[in-house]
Symmetry: C2
Subunit: 465 residues, 2 copies
């Protein structure tokens, strides 16, 4: 650990400890204040990138339990939340989509149909993404399906990473796909690991979000952005290659090389289709979504579509489960102990007199802008969505309106910075994009997304939510 | 999947489904009967080695929830049980002991002192094992510390795997170490993943097991067996090399090559020492053991003693967490719903009139013998300990007596068969032991262990428990 990081760590630990010993403000449960001091320290560690997020979460939880601020039972409750288990199992399951080759086959299939022009290529990748995202809660895993396919196309068109030729085609396609993932993640409740956590937070404010209601609310603004963004980037980035007559041919060759669908691909396709159908029907038929995912995973394991030694490589899922459940629990306990309500009341005093629509817009813009400071979409959500929701509701904003806006924003702001989402990593590191380009074009995409979701989106949410 | 396995799978699924639709016997909650049918199917899948244990657990849980036998909340409760989280984090933490090299250093250190004779070597390995096991809940990870150290010594003495020379030294040392792990696991509450689960099961029968009470109860019979078993195996297996004057020299060379303790080793040593001390004091100081483990893991992560990319390789911990928590929950729900009590009453009718000491001995022998059918110690525990405890208590056996006996048996029977514990794998696969030798000598060790624990052990438990 470098000297500067050690210094920042010491400062944050000291600040958090000092805050812990400040007496609680009048009207606030002292436990809520203690937990706030600990939680603020955790978020500061995450935002300042001082330590890995899992370390911050473990440290915060240990502090909360060992100081008696939370009981063990309270602090560990998140691990058996069904939506978190759903995230973990769906994350694990997505390996079958990746390793069976089904994901790449679908991508090539759509490129064969729509890939004749550069713009057509961009739209076909986005369309594939929108389609498969419903059963693919790891946007990072999705990026690793598209990246190799796109890179193969770029190289075949003579557009090479780290060279001037990157401007020919690669720079545009990589940026456009990265932007696309920020939209596909927003379309489905099950398209990004954090979405289910957001839905749970919304439910604490009385907004009941289901698979169907999420998709309905997201549909109009997501499709509008999906229509707009690839075209806009095309105009701004001006790729030199505008026609790719070879791409469909290349797709045909790739598909021919893949041969007919293999047994494991068919099994994967069937299991995912049934699973998504059952998730969509879960609120009607009263099915437990997590149990459906467990069953899906069991079938994939039984048939070998999920590789027998696959678990050995799921360490990342363990890490996500640990920090996500711990941060989620810290954040919800802060709410349970009354901190959010107290803070909401305080902030609302500052926004008193402002009309609810102004509060709504200001909070949304602030929520998006703050993503400059966050490395993880889910950490951002768990740290702030609850507070922002509470403040908006206290100021008179309709709970459903602000809930959907913040839930979708957690996705549509993902390409604001290179480190804004782990799904960006492959594209950012591809050699086709410079860091400053990601800031520039990613900022543009996020601005467009925010504008569409605030205008068209808000109108639509008021209509359907 | 082979035809025979598919057939067995179909038979088990059919049998379990048929049993599910049989009306519940009078006096038993229908939900308890349904869960019993599902649980029996899961255990049959595990025992018949038809599918991996995690698959059986996922399938059983999905079936229980989707049939409405359990709610999701009930079925997933195990994931936030603090003792299961303690298992998972301690399992993860043990990587620091392994990768820092501290474990191997301790082994070499003790061999340097005690390794002059073959018998001395065996005792020194066992002593090391007994010492480090308190902070090392993965007996499999411990086996992977001792195995390379032992193999280096055997090869240097000209005892090679898969050759007649294996009889010179290797066969004896491998068998003795494997037997040693069955004892070191029994000595500490935190020495084997399943032990905490066993303590939780005992607590449901009113027997409160702490780190200290476990160690006290285990101490006398474990140390007696530890004194007896290496000597007995030495007499029976007759290794041709009886003196190893070079081993201390070899240890000295290995230690010299390691150089002075490295920074990460020192950190690991300090963290483990503090952690074990806090675990031992947890019931006095009212410390949450899981939070202590979280804190330990955080410190190891922060200092780099736990490798930064370590989580990527912890997929196995995820797998254990999944199946252990799910099986544990299925088993405890069976108890909660009254099945164990009902079954205990039924079986007790059969043992009516038998004096409690006879029931106690018979149940212990049966519990040990049934391990011939189980691949995992923890699965055996979760499947049977609850029932055996209930039957014994109903028949008038003192709860503490039977609890400790079964908890320790879950460890001391581990080398009954080659597949009786995952800690056996390295030794069994070493080429120094044939399968039939493992059955023969492992059976002998288990018989000796059982005899000591039933006689000396029982007397001691009655005295201290």
């Amino acid at each position: 650990m470098g000297r500067r990081r050690a210094l920042r760590l010491a400062l944050i630990l000291f600040g958090s400890t000092a805050l812990y010993f400040v007496p609680a403000p009048a009207g606030l449960d002292p436990r809520a204040w203690s937990l706030f001091a600990i939680f603020l320290g955790v978020i500061a560690l995450v935002v300042a990138s001082v330590v890995p997020i899992v370390l911050a979460a473990l440290l915060g939880t240990a502090a909360a339990v060992l100081t008696g601020t939370l009981t063990g039972k309270e602090a560990y409750a998140g691990f058996s939340e069904d939506f978190i288990l759903l995230i973990v199992s769906a994350f694990v399951i997505s390996r079958a989509m990746l390793e069976s080759g089904l994901g790449a086959r679908i991508a090539w299939f759509i490129i064969r149909r729509l890939g004749k022009s550069t713009l057509g290529l961009a739209y076909s990748v986005l369309l594939t993404d929108l389609l498969i995202a419903s059963a693919f809660p790891s946007n990072t895993a999705r990026s690793s399906i598209f990246f190799p396919v796109l890179k193969a196309i770029c190289v075949s068109q003579g557009s090479l990473p780290g060279e001037p030729s990157r401007l020919r085609l690669g720079r545009y396609l990589m940026m456009s796909s990265m932007a696309g993932i920020s939209l596909s993640s927003a379309l489905w409740l099950t398209a990004m690991a954090g979405n289910l956590g957001g839905a749970k937070i919304a439910s604490e404010h009385g907004v009941h979000v289901t698979f169907g209601s999420w998709a309905l609310a997201a549909s109009v603004p997501v499709l509008a952005c999906a229509a707009l963004v690839p075209w806009l980037l095309f105009r701004v980035m001006k790729p030199e290659v505008q026609h790719t007559p070879d791409a469909p041919e290349q797709a045909r060759a790739a598909l021919a090389a893949l041969g007919p669908m293999k047994r494991l691909e068919i099994i994967t396709l069937v299991v995912f289709t049934v699973m998504v159908a059952l998730w969509a029907l879960s609120s009607v038929w009263k099915l437990d979504r997590t149990a459906v995912a467990f069953l899906g995973l069991a079938v994939l394991l039984l048939t070998g579509a999920y590789p027998r030694d696959g678990f050995k490589r799921e360490g990342e899922a363990l890490e996500i489960w640990l920090w996500f459940a711990l941060l989620y629990t810290l954040s919800t306990q802060l709410n349970t102990l009354g901190f959010m309500r107290w803070l909401g009341g305080g902030v609302s005093a500052g926004t008193a007199g402002l009309p609810p629509p102004v509060v709504y817009v200001l909070l949304t813009l602030a929520y998006v802008a703050i993503h400059y400071f966050f490395v993880s979409q889910s950490a951002h959500l768990l740290a702030l969505a609850g507070v922002f929701l509470q403040v908006a509701v206290t100021a008179g904003v309709a709970p459903a309106l602000i809930s959907y806006q913040l839930l979708f924003a957690t996705n549509y702001f993902s390409c604001l910075t290179p480190q804004g989402s782990s799904a960006n990593v492959l594209f950012v590191g591809s050699g086709y994009l410079t860091t400053s380009e990601v800031y520039r074009f990613g900022g543009l995409v996020t601005a467009v997304n925010t504008a569409v979701f605030l205008t068209l989106g808000s109108a639509w949410f008021l209509l359907v939510a």
